[in-house]
Amino acid sequence: MTAMTGTVAAAGTVGASRTRMEGRAKVTGAARYAGEIPFADLAHGWLVASTIARGRVRSVESAPVLAMPGVLAVLHHQNAPRLEEFAGMLGPDPTIQILQNDRVPHVGWPVALVVAETSEQAREAADALVIRYDQEPHDIAFSAQHPGMYTPDDSPLLVTETGKGDIEAGLAASAVVVDEEYTTPEEHHNAMEPHAAMARWDSGRLEVVDSNQGPFAVAQDLAKMFSLDLASVRVRSEHVGGAFGSKGLTRPPVVLAVMAAIVTDRPVRVVLTRRQMFSVVGYRSPTAQRVRLGADTDGRLRAFDHQAASLTSTIHEFVESSAGIGRVMYDADAHHTSHRVVRLDVPTPSWMRAPGEAPGSFALESAIDELAHKCGMDPIALRARNEPAVGPVSGLPFSSRNVLGCFEEGARRFGWADRDPRPGAAREGRWLLGTGTAAATYPARVAPSTAAVTAEADGTFTVRITAVDLGTGARTALTQIAADALEVELDRIQVKIADSDFGQAMIAGGSMGTRSWALAITAAATELRAQLALPGDIPSDGITARSDTAEAIGALARQERHSFGAQFAEVAVDVTTGEVRVRRMLGIFAAGRVVNPLTARSQLIGGMTWGLSMALHEEAIRDQASGAHVNADLAGYHFASNADVPVIEVDWVDDPDTHDPTGIKGLGEIGIVGAAAAIANAVWHATGVRHRDLPIRPDRVLLAGSRGC
C-alpha cells in the first residue's frame, strides 16, 4: 500500500492542504451541472450536425419533423436568429457563427437545431430530419509536406518564428547531429461532462447556465452576438465537469440555446452528445515536428532548430504553438523556431491542456534524449550543460528557474544513478524494462481581473469573483487566499464564483486562473482592511471593496516567468505483443507557491496521466473518404483507465518568486508537459527502438520490435 500524500491542516492558510469546499455536494450527487438544473416549461434542443466535410446545405426538410410529437421548432440557416459578427477574447470567432449561412466547412458542423418538449423527442426528431447537401470534394490529409502549408502571421497568442545565428553552419560545425521528425495525432479533451447550456428570458434579462471556463467572457460574447446590453446578460457556471480548454471559449451549445429561447420564448437546454463533442468544441491539432540539434561531443548545443506544422480549419486559424518550448528551455548560438499551418476541411482546433508545450515537449525532449545517447552522455547531464542564464530568445532574466533542482531531487527519488544507460539491458519475464526522463516547462502568465470583497455585519466576509472551478480546486484555493489576505479563519469566508454579474475576470485557463484571481482578491481584501481600520460600525449591507488589477499587471516587470519540472517514467514493454505498461512515474516541479498541496498534487498527477495517455492511447482517427472520425466515442477514443495508471508520485521544490505579489505560477498544465517524452524515452531504453510517432500503439511496438538488446 502506498502512503497517502498530503496532510489536511486544521487552519486555512495558503500552503496547507484543505479538502474541497464543494466536496460534499459532489460525493452525494447534489451538485448541479449546467444540464441538470430544472426550469419550469423547459424545452430541449438537439443539435443536428453535417454529415459532409465540405459543401452547402441545399435544403432542410423541416415539415415532416415539425409534425412529430412534441417538436416546437427546427432552426437552420434560413430561419435562425441573425448573429452580429463580433470580436471576442481572441478576435472574430467564426466557429460560433452557426446557422447563419449554407456553408459546411467540416463534418459535424451545426446545420440545424431541433427543439422539442423532451430531449428524447428532440433526439428522435433530429434523427429523422432530412438535410440535403451539395457536396464538394474535401481534403483532410494532414502532413508537413502538404502544399497548402503556410506561415501564419504573428498574433497575440503566437510568435510564429524566432531566429538567431546560422543554423546550417551550426549543424555543419557540430560533431553530433540529431535531425528527426516527430508526429502527434489529433487529440480530444473529452472532459467527462459534455457541454451543456440553458438559456431563458427572465424579466427582460437573458439568463444562461452554461458549462464554460469563463462566464464573463461568454456573457460578453453573447451580448455582442445578440445585440444586447452586457448588463442584460447573466451567465453562471456553478459546477463544471472538467474542461481542459474545450470550454474556454463560447461554444455552439450556448449560442443555440439562446437562439432557441428567442424563437420559442421558453427556457431551452442544449446538451451535446459525446460524439458531437468531437466536432464543435475544439481539439488538439495533429502535429508534425522536425527537430534539428547540433552539439559538440560534450553535449553543448551549437544549433537548435524546431519546426512545427499543424492544421486548422478553413474558417478560422488556430496554430498549435509546438515550437515555442525551445525558446525557454535551451540556448544555442544558432537558434531557430518556426510554425506552419495548413487549412483543411476539418473542425477548428483549439487550446487543449498545455497547448503547444504538450506536443512540442514530446518532440523536443525526445530529440534531447537522442542527442544525449549520441553524445554518450546522461540525458540529465546534457540538459544541465545547456542551462541558459537568460531567455534564449528574449534575453530577459528568469523570474526563477529551478529546473535543475527538479532533476536533482527527481533523480535521487527515482534512483536514476543506478540506471544502466544501455538500451535493452533489463528484462523481467516477457517484459523489457526501461526508464526515461524529460524536462517540463509552462509559462506563468497573469491577466487582469476584478473582485469584490464584502465585510458583512455578522463578522463574515463574502468574496465575489467570476472565477470558475472546473474541478481544479479553485473555489477552495481562493477561500484560502482570501482568508490569508483578510487574516481570518477559513470558516468566516464565503467565496462566490462563476457568475458574470460579479464582473470581469480571467477565464479558468492557461494555468492563469489562480494567480490572476488571487491578485484581484488580495487587492480588494487589502483595500477592505484599510476601510475597516477606519472608525465606525459595519452597516447591514456590509462594506465592500473592489479591485481591478489591470494597472498593477501592466506595471509588472518583463521577465521570463515559467514553471519547470522534471518527469521520470519506468515502462515495461512486451515486443511480441506490442503492449507497453507504465510501471511508475515521478514528477518534480518548480511551480511557484503552492496554495493547496492536496488539490495541487492531484492536478499535477492528473496532468501526468494525460501525458501517459498521450504517449500510449489517445488518437482521433479520420476516414479520408468521408472526412469524418471513425472513433468519435469513448469506446474508440481511448484515454487511460484506472488499470493503465501506475503509482504516480508528485512533489515540488522551492521556487520562490519575489517579483510577483502572489508568488503563484499555476499548475493546471505543466503536469502533462514532458510526460509523454519521458515515457517514449523509457520505451527506447527498454527496447532500443525510438518511437517518434504517438501514440506508441501495440501495432507500432510489435512491428518495430527491439534492437541492440
Binding site: 454529415t51 412529430m68 410529437p69 412534441g70 428524447e120 423527442q121 428522435e124 434523427d127 516477457r430 511480441t576 505483443t577 506490442g578 503492449e579 505498461r581 492511447h617 482517427i621 476516414d623 479520408q624 473518404a625 468521408s626 469524418a628 472520425h629 471513425v630 472513433n631 468519435a632 466515442d633 469506446a635 474508440g636 481511448h638 487511460a640 483507465s641 484506472n642 488499470a643 493503465d644 500503439r697 501495440p698 501495432d699 510489435l702 512491428l703
Partner: protein, 330 residues
C-alpha cells in the same frame, strides 16, 4: 415518437411466440449492446422482448462432465462459477477480460454470442456499411482498418467479432441450444456464425425467430489446463486487437491434445483447427508452435494496416503454448 413496445416474456415459448408475431421485434438480454445500438440508430426494433428474467440462469454439470450454461446467466456469474473456473479456466478468464464489471453484471451469455461488431463504420449510421445497409459498401477496406479482420473476411466486409467469451467457447466445441416455434434446436458454435461472403448482414445460422436458451460445453479434460490472453490498446476496458484461448495436454514432450482459438482476427471467433492438427502428436517445442501458427495463418489476407495481427497472433500462440507446456512440466 417512434412507436415501439417493450414486453417482458413470461416463459420461453411465450417469448418465441411474441417474436413470431412480430418479425421486427428483438430479444433483449442484458441490453449492453442492443440499447447502445438503439441510441445510435443502428438498431430500430419495433418491439423489445425482454428475456433476461427467463429461468435460464443456471450453470449445471452435465452427466458426461461438461457444462450446460443458461442463456441468461450473466457474464459476472459465469466468470465466478467454480465449475467454470475449474473445468474451463480460459472461459472464466475470457469473460473477465471483457468490458467492465458494470457491463458484465448486466450482460448475458446469449446476448454475448449475438453482439454486433465494434467496427467504427458499422456504428455510425452516416457512413456506408454492408453489414448495416447491404449494398452500401465497406469503407473500412480502403479506410481505417487497423483493428479489422485478417482471416475469413471478404471484399464486402472486414469487421471482426468482438466477443472474448466466444473465443473460449469456440475452443471448447460449445453447442448453442435454442428454442424455435417448431421446438428446441441445437447448433454447434463452429457453424453458428455464417461465412461473410457477400452477405455480411446475415450473421448467424440461428433459425428465424429462434431464442438462444443456452450453451453446452462437452467434457474436455484438456480444458482444465487452459488459458485466455487478450491484447488491447489499454490495460483494461477495451476490445481485443488480438486474443487467444488455448488448452494443452503435453505428455513426455509430446502434444496429446490441444485447443486453439483466436479473437479479433475474423468475423467470428476463429478456431485454429489447422494449427491443432499440425501440433497433435508432435513435439511441444517453440519451433513446432510457431510452425503450427504459420500453418493456420497462411490463409491470412491482411490489409495495409492490420498486418501486425499476423505476427501478434503467431506470437500469442507461441507464448501461450510455451507457458502451458512449462506448466505441464511443473
Amino acid at each position: 415518437m417512434r412507436e415501439f413496445g417493450y414486453q417482458r416474456a413470461d416463459d420461453v415459448p411465450g417469448a418465441v411466440a411474441l417474436l413470431a408475431a412480430d418479425p421486427a421485434a428483438r430479444y433483449l438480454g442484458g441490453g449492453t449492446n442492443l440499447v447502445d445500438l438503439m441510441k445510435t440508430g443502428v438498431e430500430k426494433p419495433a418491439l423489445l422482448i425482454d428475456v433476461r428474467e427467463l429461468p435460464l440462469d443456471r450453470i449445471e454439470v452435465t452427466g458426461s462432465g461438461g457444462l450446460r450454461i443458461g442463456a441468461t446467466v450473466t457474464n459476472s456469474d459465469l466468470a465466478a462459477d467454480p465449475e467454470v473456473r475449474r473445468r474451463y479456466p480460459a472461459l472464466a478468464q475470457a469473460v473477465l477480460a471483457g468490458a467492465s464489471g458494470q457491463l458484465r453484471n448486466m450482460a448475458t451469455v446469449g446476448g454475448n454470442l449475438l453482439q454486433r461488431t465494434r467496427c467504427g463504420y458499422f456504428a455510425d449510421t452516416t457512413k456506408p456499411c454492408n453489414k448495416r445497409e447491404p449494398g452500401s459498401g465497406c469503407p473500412a477496406i480502403a479506410g481505417e482498418h487497423h483493428n479489422h479482420a485478417i482471416l475469413g473476411a471478404s471484399a464486402h466486409c472486414v469487421a471482426t467479432h468482438p466477443s472474448d467469451m466466444g473465443v473460449a467457447l469456440t475452443a471448447f466445441d460449445a453447442v448453442v441450444t435454442c428454442e424455435t416455434a417448431d421446438g428446441p434446436a441445437e447448433l454447434p458454435l463452429a457453424g453458428f456464425y455464417l461465412p461473410v461472403g457477400d452477405t455480411p448482414h446475415l450473421e448467424t445460422a440461428l433459425p428465424p425467430g429462434a431464442l438462444i436458451t443456452g450453451v453446452t460445453l462437452p467434457p474436455a479434460p484438456v480444458a482444465a489446463t487452459s488459458r485466455y490472453r487478450k491484447v488491447r490498446e489499454r490495460a483494461s476496458y477495451a476490445f481485443a486487437i488480438g486474443s487467444i484461448a488455448a488448452a494443452l495436454d503435453v505428455q513426455d514432450g509430446v502434444v496429446r491434445d490441444v485447443r486453439l482459438a483466436f479473437g479479433a482476427v475474423a468475423s467470428r471467433p476463429w478456431r485454429a483447427r489447422a494449427a491443432e492438427r499440425a501440433l497433435t502428436g508432435g513435439p511441444a517445442t517453440a519451433e513446432a508452435f510457431a510452425a503450427a501458427a504459420d500453418t493456420e495463418l497462411a490463409a491470412a489476407e491482411p490489409l495495409p494496416h492490420n498486418g501486425y495481427k499476423v505476427a501478434l497472433t503467431r506470437n500469442l500462440v507461441v507464448a501461450m503454448l510455451t507457458e502451458l507446456t512449462q506448466e505441464a512440466v511443473r
